[in-house]
Structure formats: C-alpha cells, structure tokens
C-alpha cells in the first residue's frame, strides 16, 4: 500500500466533516482549533494511515484538501 499525505487549507475548511466520513482509513478528525471564520477545522489525526486515495479531496465542498502519494520506485 503506498503511503499518502493530505494537506488541508485551514482558512478554506468550513468544518463540515464530509471528509472525515469519506476517509476509509480514519485519518481525519476535528482539530478543535477555529479558523478566522470560526469553523472547527479538520486535521490529519492519523497521518501514517493515509494511502493517498483522495476520497477526502473528492468530497470536500470547499476544495481545501490537496493529496500527495508516495512515488512507486521499482
């Protein structure tokens, strides 16, 4: 399984939680931190579990998530 990584734009996140529900590996959770708009933003709680499937990014209505995946070297 390749390793992945997500970056979340805190100021874009509106804390709707759709990405938390979409993630098949329970990577994401609410951080308890508020952004400038007052939303409880999401962060990667278990980043080591991320495989870079991008389900979170496909679901994010605010396009706040970018996804990276490990290069496969043979």
């Amino acid at each position: 399984m390749p390793r992945g990584m997500v970056t979340i734009d805190k100021e874009r996140c509106k804390g709707c939680g759709l990405c938390i529900a979409a993630c098949p590996h329970q990577v994401l959770a609410y951080s308890g931190q508020l952004n400038r708009s007052g939303y409880n933003v999401v962060y990667a709680e278990n980043p080591e579990a991320c495989v870079g499937c991008a389900f979170c990014a496909l679901t994010c209505p605010d396009v706040a998530i970018e996804v990276y995946r490990e290069k496969i070297t043979t």
Binding site: K14, L18, A21, Y39, F55, L58, V63, V67, Y68, E70
Partner: protein
C-alpha cells in the same frame, strides 16, 4: 508521516480554472463539490478560454466569482434562455447553464423546457436540493411529500401543494435532448459518476451533438436542519426513492 515531499507526487490539487475566492455556500453544501467537478472538467477539456458560465439566481448566484472563465449573472429562471442567446450568437463558445431547482424547475419552467425542446447545443446542470435555499428554505416544486419547509411547517401536503416534479423525466420525453441523466453526490462512487456525467455533457457540446442535462441531487444541510453527513444519508435513503438515479436519455 512522510514529510519528504521530494518522494511524493501530488495526486489531487485545486483545479486551475477555479479562482482563489472562497465560496459563499454553507458548510457541507454539495454545490461546492459540483463547482470543483466543473472546474476539473473545464481543465481536462481545455476549454476555459471559450467557456461562458450562466450564474442563476439562488445559492449559486455568485458562481461568476469562482471560475477563471467568462460568466453572466441572469434574471431568475432565464438561464437557459440566455445560454441559448449566447450560444447562437457565437457557436464556438461552450455555454454552461448552472441552475438550481427553484430556478430551473419552477420560475424558469418555460425557458427550461423550450431550450430542451429546441435541442440547443448547451450544457445544463440542474442542482436539485428540494428547497429554496438562498431565500430561507421555502417549499420548492421538487420538495418531497411530507417535507418540512418554512412555507410548509406541517410537511408538504400533496392535496394542497401537489407532488414533487420529476423534471428530468419530463425533458426526457422530448425528441431533441441528446443526454439527460440524474446523478447524486452522497458518496465517493456517486461523485465519480457525476464527474463522468458532467464530462460527457460538456463533450456532447464540444462535439456539437446538442442539449445535455445533468440533474444532480444535492443536500441543503442548513434548511433541512441536518448535519452534512446526515443530509448525505438522507439523499441515499429517502430522496433517491423519489428521484431514481441513472441515465434517462443517451443519444450521444
């Protein structure tokens, strides 16, 4: 966590044809997912230079701020009519009429049906969230029987207000439209299906095939008084029983 970015490839980023402006949608509103899908499709087809987006009246009224392409904000319900005018004036342009259910299926009924019946070579995205979102959650013609809205506080009573209108099925009866489909966004599979449908609707226009309509079942967590995840589940469990998903016409 792998922090070494050199060894990582970016597999998902913000579409280039979206601006940096933050959307005005409520948290969890699936209009935002559609905005991203449209941006991605415009990128993939490389049509940003000649795309014109028609922003309707409704929650998506500010759509002209979010795309790096031309846009017009039009009178309530008239998006399909303005799209017709723009397309006929310059057929090289790719015209997207982006409309909600109050706009497309209520106030703009005449314009919507006749643009479809003439088989205008345009792409229409019809976002059906069964409520008038922007004005405060009033009943729309697409509201479900029993649905509580600010104008039907006891639930929509079919004897008084009629039944939810299946607009795509009406348009599918016409001879002209080449592609009519109904999609949803409640899980990853549906999001991917919707992406494919929207790409097809744009491709039909680029190839000059004619009128394409993509109806998308969307949530309104604010006016449904549900959490975003609950609202997605409501679409899957309840709304799709009234509005079945799938292609209704595909003459492409």
């Amino acid at each position: 966590m792998p922090t070494d970015l050199d060894n990582m490839v970016k597999v998902f980023s913000r579409p280039k044809s979206l601006t940096d402006v933050r959307s005005t949608y409520c948290p969890g509103c699936q209009h935002g997912i559609l905005t991203r899908i449209i941006g991605q499709t415009i990128d993939e087809l490389e049509i940003a230079e000649r795309t014109v987006i028609i922003a309707p009246v409704g929650c998506s009224v500010f759509a002209y701020l979010w795309y790096r392409c031309d846009a017009v904000q039009v009178a309530h319900g008239r998006a399909s009519a303005v799209a017709t005018g723009i397309k006929r004036a310059d057929p090289k342009l790719i015209v997207l009429s982006y409309q909600g259910d109050g706009d497309f299926a209520s106030i703009g009924t005449a314009e919507s049906i006749h643009a479809a019946n003439r088989g205008e070579n345009i792409t229409v995205i019809f976002v059906n969230n069964q409520v008038y979102g922007m004005t405060g959650g009033e009943m729309a013609p697409t509201s479900l029987v029993g649905q509580k809205t600010t104008t039907t506080p006891g639930g929509r009573d079919a004897a008084l207000f009629g039944y939810p209108i299946r607009f795509s099925e009406m348009i599918a009866q016409l001879d002209a439209p080449v592609y009519v489909t109904r999609q949803a966004l409640y899980d990853t599979k549906r999001i991917i299906d919707t992406t494919k449908a929207i790409k097809k609707a744009f491709t039909n226009q680029v190839e000059g095939k004619g009128y394409s309509l993509v109806e998308v079942l969307s949530t309104c967590p604010t006016n449904w008084h549900m959490k975003p995840v609950e609202a997605s589940k409501h679409i899957a469990d309840v709304v799709t029983k009234v509005y079945p998903l799938g292609d209704l016409v595909d003459r492409g």
